[in-house]
Amino acid sequence: MSTPESDFDDNPYDLLADDHDEGHRWAFGTGFTDPLEGVDTSVPAGLDPAALARYCLALGDDALIYSHRLQQWVARLPELEEETAVANIALDLLGQARMLLSRAGRITGQTEDQLAFFREEKEFRNVRLAEHADRDFAELVVRMLMFSAWRLALFESLSSGADPVLAAIAAKGVNELAYHRDYAAGWVVRLGDGTPLSHAKTQAALDTLWPLLGELFRPDPDALAAVDRGEFDAVLDTVLATAGLDRPAAAPLAPVGGRTGSAPPGGRPPAPPDRTGRDGVHTEAMGYILAELQSVARAHPDATW
């Protein structure tokens, strides 16, 4: 289909090989163009820049960590179609993470790479649902249903929110997340309404993951939008009823208690007595994710190639 043009090389792989000096390579340390290059990232009057940066970081961390978890599934999925679906969903989320981390970094004076690769575990603000290690395909799809239904509802309300950059990032994400949610919901129905074994495994996945839902709906002083739990539950109940699955009655995962009163640096309010992923308190799984995600960047912090 393409018109041959001898004076111009249309093959992107050749272009990658040619431009050594311009750094057009897909790897850490390649001087990636900021995904918000050319976008007006000034903070509107009336918004607290520090709070906006923390909120974008939290939403970016959700996407970064969850994307990494999905990437770990690639080459281990049951069918080729599921490989491409999960890889593409992970890619969408990585794109959202890059823009959100850049949005935060433009305010704090850091790059997306600094934020992704050189923060400590306690500085990551993702919800603990994002870091969970799926034990089987049922957990993968149940967790994706929970995460994408919540994030879709959140992004729908953020797309008319107070910060125009975050609103634009959210508006792009809405269309992507609608596909993620439908993909996950389709599999939850297929498995829940499938064989006795697939039903049992999907119900077990729901029971395991249910306690992690509560954290998604905790009040966040930095948030520019919130998801109505009733609307979220209505979507989930539709899927569960179609799948013949029972809504678990499990209590939310308990927050972690801590000392109160002392104000941490950076102008944040004192830590609440009960802390969750948004406050930098994570499950054991998080350290392993960061070790894998960050080790190359940390071994060669100034590397370019």
Binding site: L15, D19, L36, A85, L91, G95, V165, A171, N175, V239
Partner: protein, 145 residues
């Protein structure tokens, strides 16, 4: 050749004295890895054409949707065996959940409407995979977004 203008990715080209050429593009999917290559290609192409100062800027609003693909872009996609997207859904209020099989696209090879969706995600995030029950061939379709 299918161009970035056909695909609705190119939002503007401005050549003003003092600033050089500023090419404004908009990302399709948030994580589309082709965006970086598109920006690099635009830079390289303009440099070869003799423009020394070239900037590729990003524009996020209004967000890209498949409705930005031009009529010419659609016919080029179909000619390449990729079913062009239908009109993107325009909704008021929360996006409804879709359970069960989504509608399929007309076969770009034989034109039959007798096709089925085999995978919501194909080799790239922007395409789905289908099979034509009339001619038996699999094909890709650009998802309406």
């Amino acid at each position: 050749m299918l161009t970035i203008e056909d695909l609705g990715i190119l939002r503007g080209v401005d050549d003003s004295p003092g600033r050089g050429v500023v090419v404004t593009i908009t990302p399709t999917y948030s994580g589309c890895p082709a965006m970086r290559e598109i920006a690099a290609d635009v830079q390289a192409r303009l440099r070869r054409a003799g423009f020394q100062r070239v900037t590729v800027a990003t524009q996020l609003t209004p967000p890209w949707s498949t409705d930005w693909i031009t009529a010419e872009g659609r016919s080029k996609l179909a000619a390449a065996g990729i079913a062009p997207p239908s009109a993107a859904p325009r909704r008021a209020g929360p996006i409804p959940l879709t359970l069960g099989r989504s509608s399929s696209s007309r076969c770009p090879r034989c034109g039959s409407p007798d096709t089925r969706l085999t995978a919501q995600f194909s080799a790239t995030a922007c395409k789905s995979l289908h099979r034509c029950d009339a001619c038996g061939e699999p094909f890709e379709a650009v998802k309406a977004l």
